[in-house]
């Protein structure tokens, strides 16, 4: 059974249709690229799937269960996690606490257990000195913390919204390798939004392309990148 299925998912913001009739599926263990020009609706789509926004119409299913209008905190318990394009650190909590929180509230762990699993996740990502304030972190560390926080929910489906943005190419390569390894280990389905096509090519097995809220193409990166409609969408955006 597919992990995640959307059918005709649509979100309109007073007139502007940010996500328009998007139907897609995500399977266990796959890394899916979500691409499209600025304003295509990628972030809004993730908001809809993770419960941060409610759709205008359409349907979201997680392992066959209708979760279209389920609140976000329940979805994170069910197994859907995500990071934010605009970073959301909890600045009055230590780094370790920022990560623990998902283990405590999504997984119902005790503080002690949550701390232990948060430490393990941070170690996997190479995030150190966890008693620091978030204000002391570099961009790379903030991004790692956001990923770690999502992983602490122990999700089956994870969305990464432009986590590589702002990193240099070494850092990006390092993070790609880490994400790949973790996704494989945990058999997670991962949806990756990135503007850097190198990242998409490296990471993903399949890509969906959004333009003005609509899903215009789907398939392996190599095929999709040759699709005239996709080229048009990107050139149109650049022109």
């Amino acid at each position: 059974m597919s992990k995640l299925v959307t059918t005709g998912l649509t979100k309109a913001f007073s007139g502007l249709v940010a996500v328009n009739d998007v139907s897609f599926t995500m399977e266990e263990g796959e890394i899916l690229g979500i691409i499209g020009p600025n304003g295509a609706g990628k972030t809004t789509f993730i908001h809809l799937v993770s419960g941060i926004l409610m759709p205008s119409s359409g349907r979201v299913e997680f392992k066959g269960k209708d979760i279209t209008y389920m609140p976000a905190h329940e979805r994170s318990r069910l197994g859907i996690a995500r990071t934010y394009q605009l970073i959301h650190p909890l600045e009055n909590l230590k780094v370790i606490e920022n990560v623990m929180i998902g283990a405590v509230f999504s997984r119902g762990k005790s503080l002690k257990e949550a701390r232990r699993s948060a430490e393990a996740i941070c170690a996997e990502l190479g995030l150190e000195r966890l008693e620091r304030d978030t204000a002391q972190l570099s961009i790379l560390e903030i991004k790692k913390m956001e990923i770690a926080r999502a992983l602490a929910n122990e999700p089956e489906v994870l969305f990464l919204d432009e986590v590589m943005a702002g990193l240099n190419s070494d850092e990006t390569l390092q993070l790609i390798a880490t994400v790949k390894r973790i996704a494989l280990e945990r058999k997670m389905a991962v949806g990756v939004v990135e503007h850097v096509m190198g990242v998409i090519r490296e990471l993903t097995q399949r890509v969906i392309v959004l333009e003005a809220g609509e899903l215009i193409a789907e398939g392996p990166y190599e095929t999709v990148s040759k699709n005239p409609r996709v080229i048009e969408a990107y050139l149109g955006g650049a022109a």
Binding site: H73, I101, L111, R149
Partner: protein
Amino acid sequence: MKLKSSYIVVAVLSVIAIAFPAFLGAYPLNVARSIMTYMALAISWDMLLRSGQISFGIAGLFGLGSYASALAVLRGGMDPMLSIVFAAAFAGVMAYALGFAILRLRSMYFSITTLALMEIFRIVMHNLHDFSGGPEGVVLPSVIFKGASPALYWLCLAGLFLTIGVSWFFEKSKMHLALTAIRNDETSARSSGVNIFNYLLIAFVITSVLQGMMGAIQVQSYGFTTPDTAFDANFTLLPLAMALLGGIHSTIGPMAGAVLLGVASEWLKLKIPYGHLVVYGIIIILVILFMPQGLFGLARKARRERSKAGASHE
């Protein structure tokens, strides 16, 4: 090591607090009671503030507790001690019911609504002549413990200890994570599985129980109350000023602020009647302008800077 020594400090201070009646007379014990009452209110206000919600309704729940306790004794013939428990529970039930409406609100809208509720409670007590005694208020047949100062002091201290204990629990349990996450970023909190409304409701009910309890202790200790005494805006303003001065988002900050402002205002009351209120106003303004994190916030910041400086020398 450090933890152990702080436990010892707490134990010593507690023993001193419990032993006060052995060497203090009635007047200082009275002053101490007033400070302890404000301290408990300041701490309970701060507990909800840790979620980012600024309540102006302390006096409302305090007054509600006062009236619930007084009327339970007067109209229901309840035992005074039991009436304190009853009043605390009553405040909690009211907060639970009201919470469903007002905890959907944020920032200014929440604050103003809590202020309005306080006013509504006061007006209701004003106008329910037959039941609540109207503007003249209620007089109890007797003061609890026959008005013995040490006993009244210990009763108030017990209320304070309970408040401190709950606040400490808030700091050390997952409540800390939940409330801080809600204050910092509700979106992140939701994505990490925090049921925001539930945690706000828990915090609002618990702090209301504590405020109602302190109101009940107060009315049983004085033997009377009126709408204007029970719902006095000072029960909102002074705890707020104390918490701001000492440092918000902690237990120790409001405690320190309550001692400083409480002692200062007693002294000022003797020098210039009503002058203490002017001083409160000035302190609120100065603190908000120059040290929004309060005294303990300043100390924390200094410690951080020092450790940062130390780290860069390594």
